[in-house]
Symmetry: C2
Subunit: 183 residues, 2 copies
C-alpha cells in the first residue's frame, strides 16, 4: 500500500464569502514533489426525504444560479454555525415546505465533491408529516415551488433531468431500493 | 406557481484556478430585491462503477485535501476541455486502475452541489474488464491505492465511513438495487 497523505506547505485564503470560502494549499506529495490544491470550504448541509402519509415525496423547485436553471430537489439547507444536523433537518423541512414531522431518522451522510470541496450532506427521512400553523418561513433570498409526487413521478423527473442533483438522485434510488426490498 | 428565475445584475470573477473558478454574482430576485450568489465553476467529471467478471467492485483510495483524509471512491476524474464523457470514462478507468473494458454503459448524470457549484458527474458502469498492458498512468500529482471488493465489503466501507462521498454512495446503492431487483 502506498502512503497517500499530502502535507500542507502553505495555505492562502483567496475568498471568504457569505457561504463558501476558497483557499489554495501548496502541498508536499507522497513522492516529495509539490503541487497545489484548490479547496472550497462549506458549512455542510442537511437534506430530508419527506414522505407523506399517502406515500408522496415532497419536492422543492428552486432556481440554481450556478447552472442558470431551476431544479427539483428534496428539501435541504445549510447548517448554521454549531447547529445540530437533526435540528437543522427539522428547521429546513419546516421553512421550505411548511411541514413538521413526528419521525425523523438519519439515513447516511456523504461529501458531495471530495475533489475540491468539503461540503457534507446529512440525509434524513421524515414521516408522520403534518402542515404546521405559522411555520417558519424561508430566508429572504429563497423562493421555491412545492410539489408532492409519487415515486414513479419522481423517476420520470430524473429521466427529464428536472431532478438532476446527487442528493435527490440518491434519495429517489433509496426509495426504489426500499420498495424492491419490501417485495 | 411562483416565478423563480434570478437575473444577473453583475458578475465578478474572484479566482481562476487550475481546476475551479469562483465568481460572485449580484442577482435580482423574483421579488425585485437583490442578493449575492457565490458560484464555483468546474469542468465536470465522470465516474465509473467497474465490476470484474467475479463480481468485485474496483475502488480507489486517495487523499482528499479538502477533508484532510483518505477516502475510498469509485474511479473518477475531471473532463478535459472538449472531451467526450464516455472517452473520459475509458481514460480515467485505465489511468486510475490499469483496466480497460469491453462494455461501458452510461447510467445517469447529476450535479453534485447545486447550491454553489456547477460540477456535474456522468456515471458509467464498466464490464468485461481486463488489465491493460502499458496502461496510461496517473497524473503526476495523483497517488492511489486500488482495491477490489464485494458489494458486502463496500457496504461495510460505507458504515465505516471509508466510503463517504455522494457518487460512490450512489454507485453502491445502485448495485444493491440491481441485486434486489434480480431476486
Amino acid at each position: 500500500m502506498e502512503r497517500l497523505e499530502e502535507k500542507t506547505i502553505s495555505s492562502k485564503e483567496i475568498f471568504n464569502g457569505k457561504i463558501i470560502s476558497v483557499r489554495v494549499d501548496d502541498v508536499e506529495l507522497p513522492n516529495g514533489k509539490t503541487s497545489k490544491r484548490e479547496i472550497v470550504k462549506h458549512p455542510g448541509a442537511v437534506a430530508v426525504i419527506a414522505v407523506t402519509d399517502d406515500n408522496k415525496i415532497i419536492l422543492v423547485e428552486q432556481y440554481r444560479k450556478a447552472m442558470e436553471r431551476t431544479m427539483v430537489e428534496i428539501p435541504a439547507g445549510k447548517l448554521e454555525k454549531g447547529e445540530d444536523p437533526k435540528e437543522c433537518a427539522h428547521r429546513e423541512l419546516e421553512e421550505e415546505t411548511g411541514y413538521e414531522c413526528k419521525e425523523l431518522e438519519w439515513l447516511t451522510s456523504f461529501y458531495t465533491s471530495p475533489g475540491f470541496a468539503d461540503e457534507i450532506i446529512h440525509l434524513y427521512i421524515a414521516k408522520g408529516l403534518s402542515k404546521k400553523e405559522n411555520a417558519a418561513s424561508l430566508d429572504e433570498d429563497e423562493f421555491v415551488n412545492l410539489e408532492e409526487v409519487t415515486l414513479e413521478q419522481a423517476l420520470e423527473y430524473v429521466k427529464e433531468k428536472k431532478i438532476y442533483d446527487a442528493k435527490t438522485a440518491y434519495a429517489i434510488q433509496y426509495l426504489q431500493l426500499q420498495e424492491a426490498l419490501s417485495k
